[in-house]
């Protein structure tokens, strides 16, 4: 099962700054393992962010995103206590959703 994300959201005036850390291998599919075989590609392809249930951003990622991805984005009009939710889905169909309150 996928590990939880770390989401920190902080209101700075009228905008909330959101920083997300995700636990994921992000295998490119081009690397050889210790057994000499190519490690199959395994990476997050989509990230969806929402604010109080309303989508604010949808991202598509390729295998070039670093392992244990870090993402920062900004949400307009988000106040302290508002809910920021992030969902990722990888190329194996696995997904994970976590939520945090704006501080």
């Amino acid at each position: 099962m996928a590990s939880p994300m770390r989401i920190r959201a902080r209101a700075e005036g009228a905008v909330a700054d959101v920083r997300v850390l995700m636990a994921h291998e992000m295998e490119t599919g081009q690397r050889k393992g210790s057994d000499g075989k190519v490690v199959p590609a395994w990476f997050i392809q989509e990230v969806v962010a929402s604010h109080n249930g309303k989508q604010v951003m949808v991202a598509q990622w390729g295998p070039a995103v670093s392992k244990n991805p870090y993402l920062q984005f900004k949400v307009k009009g988000a106040k302290a206590g508002d809910k920021i939710a992030v969902t990722w889905k990888d190329n194996k169909g696995e997904s994970r959703t976590d939520e945090a309150a704006v501080a």
Binding site: T28, Q55, Q60, G62, T97
Partner: protein, 155 residues
């Protein structure tokens, strides 16, 4: 805890956004299929990528800013931020010219998001990093060189 994509879309009331995005050509038209734009992640040159995304021409803009180090100590983690001050920015794409899969990420923004993201990408070698921005139907592009060095000891 984990939800599949469709549930999220339902829960978030995002179906309309999704359809809108699909019509923009960034997602596959068939919602039953993965929305991931495979073709855009398989291109081998900037020109090809623009073609796949249906971009006919781009303008330069000082309002698109790439934040990244001039030298990355390690290619496995290169911080790249892109911010667009152009009004009605709908999309930012981050590309690393010399990567085997040059498209690193594409971000679509709703009206309640600022066009300002940061991410971390892998870079196999020193390369130009491109930011492609779509705002009010027009495309803008800018680039910045990032040198990748070998960091520390051998062994």
């Amino acid at each position: 805890m984990s939800m599949n994509r469709r549930e999220v879309l339902k829960a978030g009331g995002g179906a309309a956004v999704y359809t809108a995005l699909a019509s923009m050509g960034f997602f596959a038209a068939n919602p039953a299929m993965a929305a991931w734009n495979k073709a855009a992640f398989e291109t081998k040159s900037i020109a090809d990528t623009l073609k796949v995304l249906g971009v006919s021409g781009t303008a330069n803009s000082a309002d698109v800013v790439i934040t990244s180090p001039d030298i990355a100590e390690n290619g496995a983690v290169v911080p790249v931020g892109v911010a667009s001050k152009i009004a009605k920015t709908e999309m930012i794409a981050v590309m690393v010219e010399k990567n085997p899969s040059m498209m690193a990420g594409m971000y679509e923004f709703g009206a309640n998001a600022e066009a300002d993201i940061s991410m971390r990408v892998k870079m196999g070698q020193s390369s130009d990093v491109y930011a492609l921005v779509k705002a009010d139907g027009k495309f803008y592009m800018t680039k910045k060189e990032v040198k990748v060095t070998l960091g520390g000891c051998g062994g």
